[in-house]
Assembly symmetry: C2
Homo-oligomer: 204 residues x 2
Amino acid sequence: MNAPLSERRQAQLAALTDAAERRIAEGGMASLKARDLAADIGIALGGLYNIVTDLDELALRVSSRTLGRLGEALTAASDALPLESKADAVNRLVAIAHAYLHFAKGNLRLWRTLFELRLAEGTALPAWAADDQLRLFRHVAEPLTLLVPDMDEAQQTLAARTLFAAVHGIVTLGLEERLVAVPLTALEAQIEWLVRAACRGLGE
Amino acid sequence: MNAPLSERRQAQLAALTDAAERRIAEGGMASLKARDLAADIGIALGGLYNIVTDLDELALRVSSRTLGRLGEALTAASDALPLESKADAVNRLVAIAHAYLHFAKGNLRLWRTLFELRLAEGTALPAWAADDQLRLFRHVAEPLTLLVPDMDEAQQTLAARTLFAAVHGIVTLGLEERLVAVPLTALEAQIEWLVRAACRGLGE
DNA sequence: GCGGAAGAATGAACATTGTTCAAGACTGAA
DNA sequence: TTCAGTCTTGAACAATGTTCATTCTTCCGC
């Protein structure tokens, strides 16, 4: 209780973010309630707004953490494979896509929250949040530079985004349980097919 | 909801759905407010709940309309091309994907609403809504049967879903304005590349 | 140490929503 | 006309995010 205020604030922010993360993991973004969170960390309702300006900011902070963990997962998948030949590059892209699928399945609610963020119309998302996103694309872009070294860089970036988006779409639809459930291994196979086909299509 | 409705009720329901569609097209699902809608069609607040059980039901009805119009757009794109050779099949798939992109861009808020529907946990979506979705997949499945006639039907269905999902992902990310904007023609080119590559990958 | 300014904590109050409900108004058959 | 059933109404309720005056703490210059 008598730690210096600045430290205390940091600790509160961390505790608040923890609580928010737990609540979202438990019940999705819809269960991010100001009163619940205040109770979780033992402060009065109004105190929330000394730590954070918005519940939206809080959701953004949780999303940043999730993106960080996702990045680590993709890094781990990448580092497990060599990257020397073009075949390596394709294999690595497949591994990244599979890692993405498994992360999404294993962190379903937190992962979904990444895309449910609705910032107030007109407010751009903070730089640190945008950075997190770019870091993700770079995981895909790196093998691509080896795969198609002659392609101009803007085109490579665009291709990385497209590939990422395609895989993301497959994962999203595949984990949507209000449609027919697709077995995980079938999803993996579909992703692998698409990534390999897309890579082959890049060559020409 | 399935008892025979009086004519007045039908008219009210239509007017209400119109109003909801207008509001969503204008400001997204967040601007579907009970009081606004009641005012729009000139009834008291409570009267809404004689016409519709929920605002969610209303959003679902608007989504059904949107899916219907989307289906028509895909049909129009399909019918404009012959379907005899395998090359025709690929061209048609590309045309469908492009039509999807243009529909999404031209009906951005209504299209996004399709995926923002959050039915109360545990309630399945009504059969008529599920049917609309299946009809969409069939647009993709039809050319696929010509393209890979030897493939077993379950596999064809799965491939259709995957292709649809991949294109959907590209469109979603491409129309997300809080990232770098991608010119429409670049988006078209990316989609065409991916669809053609995926089709070639199917053959082997 | 101390005293006052700056900042933080509190919880009541406000604003905005979706939804319900008792009471009145209406409609159509007898 | 009368009356039972139905529709409509708008006030009330509940849940929620956010603000604010008041009270309490903390920190820094003396």
